[in-house]
């Protein structure tokens, strides 16, 4: 019998499949294309489809022909060490495989790779006449920066209105935000439930929920509220029953300090759980503080969009800010989620993480947190194979006495 967790996983997984190239190209309505995570409530309320070419590229790395695709991406001649998800996105673009958008919105967030993709999109000859809007994500997290980012998002709305000749329905935007706040609240509730020892449900549901909620075609629909409520009620029941993840004897809880990537959850995390009882209690796509959107005024709404853009988008949170900010997050997660260790994939192409390794290692040493740095590509398993990653993690847990 299929249990509720498997059902939920299938439902979200099916929807996430829609982020691949072909379904993206087939999505209806005016089509806005970005290089990153645009503030999703806006297109949802405006009623246009929005696609993030980075995510489409990332999904490409999970296709059966991923290796071939990545090689083709390298052959285009873009910087060879750039993030592989972005390389594939660049390839899709350069090969003429992406549907021509009606509007392009780009920003520098979250990392240097994003700039390359953004620049490529903005200068792509066949799209020369497509209207383009560029945003500047500052590397700061204070009120002034949130207001600044909010103002740009507000300008983006005006730009959309001009391009499409149709006004934003502000009541609809509020409705979407109310729904979005509710869903974020549910995601946070699931995070709370994950704190229980043993962890009651596969912690990866946070990541799945986040992606389902924010990136898929169903984004911010009541269907997702329903999905999240089912997840929470099933998880609460397991907490009450003091049950851990089905079939797993939990031994180690660790922070995967990076996005999940495409192959690790499928080919590494499952094996770690099954064979070692080691669970990724938190990864960087799951982690978000998700403060509610302030609906008291239009200005307040956009400032909170700005704040969430800079601080709560997973990639922006890990990349845009200072090393101290990054380290504080690690410590907070380790404390709140009772992590026994931190694993830093040190994904190639993530210049931010790769510029912080010594500081993070030293901090972990000082605090007595076992820490392993891998040096892998979270989108290309040929760089460090799942077997090698598994062996290294296993040896690390053994030498630190965690298993």
């Amino acid at each position: 019998m299929i249990n509720v967790f498997s059902q939920l996983q299938m439902q979200a997984g099916k929807s996430l499949g829609g982020l691949c190239l072909d379904p993206q190209n087939a999505s209806p309505g005016p089509f806005v294309l970005g290089n990153g995570d645009f503030f999703i409530e806006i297109p949802a309320a405006y009623g246009c489809s929005y696609s993030d070419l980075t995510i489409t590229g990332a999904m490409g790395t999970a296709m059966p022909d991923a290796s071939e695709l990545i090689d083709k991406a390298i052959e285009t001649g873009v910087e060879s060490r750039m993030c592989t998800a972005l390389k594939v996105a660049c390839y899709y673009l350069e090969a003429g495989l992406v549907r021509k958008p009606d509007m392009i919105i780009t920003s520098n967030s979250c990392c240097d790779s994003m700039d390359t993709l953004g620049n490529l999109m903005n200068t792509y000859k066949p799209w020369a006449e497509v209207p383009k809007f560029i945003m500047d994500a500052p590397h700061s997290f204070d009120e002034e920066s949130y207001i600044y980012m909010g103002k740009q998002l507000r300008q983006a709305v005006t730009f959309m209105e001009d391009v499409f000749g149709r006004k934003m329905d502000w009541d609809r935007l509020r409705e979407v935000c109310v729904l979005s706040n509710k869903q974020d609240q549910l995601l946070l509730e699931f995070q709370e439930l994950k704190k229980a020892v043993p962890c009651p449900a596969n912690p990866d549901f946070s990541r799945l929920g986040f992606a389902y909620d924010r990136w898929t075609g169903e984004r911010i629909s009541p269907q997702i509220t329903d999905w999240l409520e089912q997840l929470i009620s099933a998880t609460e029941q397991r907490v009450k029953d003091k049950l851990g993840i089905e079939g797993i004897t939990e031994k180690v809880r660790f922070l995967w300090q990076e996005l999940a990537g495409t192959w690790p959850p499928v080919e590494l995390w499952g094996r770690l759980q099954q064979e070692l009882g080691a669970i990724v209690i938190m990864d960087y796509m799951s982690f978000g503080t998700l403060t509610p959107i302030d609906l008291t005024s239009e200005e307040a709404m956009f400032t909170s969009f700005g704040k969430r853009f800079l601080l709560e988008d997973p990639m922006n949170r890990q990349c845009l800010h200072t090393t101290d900010f990054f380290c504080n997050d690690i410590l907070q997660i380790v404390k709140d989620f009772k992590c026994d260790a931190v694993i830093i994939p040190a994904h190639i192409g993530n210049r931010d993480t790769n510029s912080r390794l010594k500081v993070v290692r030293e901090m972990c040493r000082e605090k007595g947190i076992p820490c392993l740095v891998l040096g892998m590509d979270i989108w290309d398993k040929r760089y460090m194979t799942p077997e090698t990653a598994f062996d290294r993690i296993k040896t690390f847990f053994e030498t630190t006495g965690l298993i």
Partner: protein, 387 residues
Amino acid sequence: MKSGIKSDSFEKFTVIAGSIMNPSVQECKDGGRKVLGYTCSFVPEELIIAAGMLPFRIRATDSESAGRADDYFESANICSLIRHTFGKVLNSEYDFIDGAIVGGGCDGNRHILDNWEKSPAKIAFLDRLFIPHASNNLTAEFFLGQLSGLKSRIEGYFGVTITDEKLWSAIRLCNEVRELQRELYGLRLSDNPPITGSETVAVIVAGSSMPKEEYRDDLKKLLRELQEVQVPEKKYSARIMIVGPGHDDTSMSDIVEELGGLVVNDLTCFGGKVIFGSVKEDGSDPLKALADYQVLTRPFCPKNLSAHPVINKEVFDKSKEFKVDGVIGQVFLCCETWGGEIFILNKELRDAGIPLLRIERECTADSTGQLRTRVQAFIETISGGAL
């Protein structure tokens, strides 16, 4: 290649460009003037000059190894300019500066500050300046706010007052210097210029490593000398433009010029990008004039998503004006910022029939040796025959 310039000023520039600490800086220090380092050309030197200090562009001149910096920056993923520059910091070669401002350009550059703060290489004043990634009135306004904050922090820490008068005076001085530097560049419009590309790099690098007034006077002298010199007739096989990030070493121009070519122009952070345009002198707010200049007039960094059309135009304009036969896009390994830009530029130059050679290299001078064959083949191809 050497043109055989006989000039005290030029000799002085060469010495200054070839090392980090130099006699002019020492003289300043001895006279009690403070030195403020900066890592990116978006940091306005004018602000530092108006604070009564000497701006010094932090660079990695002559570095052979990144040394301990590789503990901080993963060597396989971070560009060598960052690693070697920070290596110099850790090696105490920047101990003479009284403070540093880190420009928040690319990801690696931003983290120089974080790592510096945590490293044993302590420095009293360490600050950052965020660089906008789009060019419009809103981003220029935000950058103005950043500059204003930085100004206050400099004033507070060093106990100085940066008045508008001092800022306008620094702006005039730097504008004058940029104009003279452009005049120097203009000499290579001719078929047989009195100065080579390699030599020009040294002159420009020296400009960010010594007091501006002294530099201006020496540069004026050099220009006079160059205008009077009798240049022996030479035939160059190809006129080359170099585009890319901040190369302060002359190794690539050296190779081009040893192979019979001539580097006639460049768009790099130690060249064409810093001498571009002028800060407007007619407004009421000098800080706003600086912000507008950096964000709206010369947004040459590809970290800025509005930059490409400006970079593109400049490369095309200069290629035409300086009769460029081919462009060398020179990128440091792992630099996505310029890697992406050169990729785009290559497509556009190709469409326009201008050949581009893309070179990826480490930032050490000896890394160019192995590229010689490629440069030679490029020059042969564009000059239409064997050298």
